[in-house]
């Protein structure tokens, strides 16, 4: 089963000291290596800061483009891993190993596999 591990954090990467950025970066590098070596990793990326985000909505045929993320929330999406494992337990164990779990929140979401059910 595939799970998306969504990494939420405070999002102020730029406010961290260079040492902290280096430390966290190294931790993520180590985690990604471990995940890749296990053969369970499908994809994974870090996202640029929310200051680079643009939101798009189409209403009544008109495209509205605004600066910033869609919702003003305390925790913002900072990156993700897509993994392929046997059970939720395994997904949760990987989620707990993500460096961001120690200060933010990892949301674990199973990927839809039965598209027929969605379109039925």
């Amino acid at each position: 089963m595939q799970y998306m591990l969504l990494i939420y954090g405070s999002g102020d990467w730029q406010e961290l000291s260079p040492e902290q950025q280096k430390e966290i970066g190294a931790a993520y590098f180590a985690f990604s290596e471990e995940l890749q070596a296990s053969g369970k990793m499908v994809a994974g990326d870090a996202l640029q800061d929310t200051s680079t985000a643009t939101s798009v909505r189409v209403r009544d045929g008109e495209t509205l483009t605004t600066d910033g993320p869609f919702a003003e929330t305390k925790e913002v999406l900072g990156g993700y891993y897509l993994i392929d494992v046997e059970t939720l337990d395994e997904a949760l164990e990987w989620a707990a190993k993500i460096p961001g779990a120690a200060y933010g929140t990892i949301e674990v979401r199973p990927i839809v596999t039965d598209y027929e059910a969605l379109t039925a």
Binding site: Y3, E86, T87, L88, D89, A91, L92, P110
Partner: protein, 360 residues
């Protein structure tokens, strides 16, 4: 307190631990395997969850301890909300109907039905595994499972008594004790259920009326089950890790003595309040204290309890103590009767109230 616990333990008859308790439990489990498989096939038709169990190996040796144990760990998975865990276990493992579970939880039926649907969907779609958790996850998952098995037992303890549910809870506890022989609280729960079940036939009269402990016909107590329960408690106590289930089992065991030692029982309840604080435990402690030190002492403890305004036993206990002190108690009895969950309990409370009316 620790001393009181040990003293209580030493007082119980000691025939020694069965030569091979593990083998005994496994044998019991094996004897019931055929019956279990038959019932599981019925369950499987009912629930999409068990459809997944059909994919498990058929070999009986590999299915002991038991598929339902795997099911119960899935139902008690921490990815499910706490209230959903218990409801799901009662539904899928205990076989209770939605109205029965709703009553046990004091929640509206539609709320509970929705809770069950959501939880089952999450098990299926989020990939919650149908298995006994691996060793490194087992201890944290165990607490919920114990609480859940106890609730299954309580749902069967009635009235009305449902022996199948009580038997099911006891069997699950026994299998769990075989699986986790080093967990004192698992043996404690097993002991507690056996000791409570031993009074099953004595606590409800032929007419279906509740019979108080003091008025029970001791000949109706199940002597074999008391022995089994005390041995299970011995297995717990040698591990020297006291816990709430062991304390409750110790209390239940003391209740079988010829002369009830209320001082000792009140002490054990005091320890239980420390380990597992809850208003219901405090209420039980107040009852024990009233037996040991008189109704005024019990009433004083009761007046400090909050959160039981909708619990019928809270009001009936207050009423009993007030009556013993010669104070008005009609309002408390009326409140208890209005809140009582079944006709058997209402009848019991009315009889007590009539007793009051006939007294000078």
């Amino acid at each position: 307190m620790q001393d009181a616990f040990v003293r209580a333990a030493e007082r119980w008859p000691r025939d020694g631990v069965p030569r091979n308790p593990g083998a005994w439990i496994v044998a019991t489990a094996r004897n019931r395997a055929i019956d279990r498989i038959r019932r599981e096939q019925t369950l499987a038709r009912k629930t999409e969850l068990l459809a997944r169990a059909e994919g498990l190996p058929d070999d009986e040796e590999t299915t002991i301890p038991d598929e339902r144990l795997e099911l119960i760990f899935a139902c008690c998975h921490p990815a499910l909300a706490a209230e959903a865990q218990v409801a799901l276990t009662l539904s899928l493992v205990g076989g209770l109907t939605t109205p029965e579970i709703a009553r046990a939880f004091l929640v509206p039926e539609p709320t509970l039905a929705q809770r069950l649907v959501r939880a089952k969907r999450k098990i299926r779609e989020a990939g919650i595994p149908l298995r006994v958790p691996p060793e490194h996850l087992l201890p944290e998952r165990l607490q919920v499972v114990l609480a859940t098995i106890y609730l299954v037992f309580n749902a069967g303890y009635g009235p009305p008594v449902r022996r199948d549910l009580c038997g099911e809870a006891i069997r699950l506890a026994a299998v769990l004790a075989t699986l986790m022989p080093d967990e004192a609280e698992v043996h404690g729960l097993h002991a507690l259920l056996l000791l409570q079940d031993a009074r099953r036939d004595a606590r409800v009269s032929r007419a279906g009326e509740l019979v108080l402990l003091a008025d029970q016909d001791r000949a109706l107590w199940d002597v074999d089950e008391i022995e089994q329960g005390r041995r299970a408690l011995d297995r717990a106590l040698v591990l020297r890790l006291p816990g709430p289930h062991q304390l409750q089992a110790a209390i239940a065991s003391l209740h079988f003595e010829e002369e009830t030692d209320w001082q000792e029982i009140a002490l054990l309840y005091g320890r239980l309040v420390e380990l597992a604080p809850s208003p219901v435990v405090e209420l039980n402690r107040a009852v024990a204290v009233s037996m040991a030190d008189g109704p005024a002492a019990g009433l004083e403890l009761i007046s400090a309890i909050t959160g039981l305004e909708d619990y019928y036993l809270f009001h009936s206990t207050r009423a009993d103590l007030l009556r013993q002190l010669g104070q008005p108690s009609a309002t408390e009895y009326a409140r208890a009767i209005a809140l009582a969950p079944s006709e058997v309990e209402r009848a019991f409370l009315r009889r007590r109230q009539d007793l009051l009316a006939s007294e000078p």
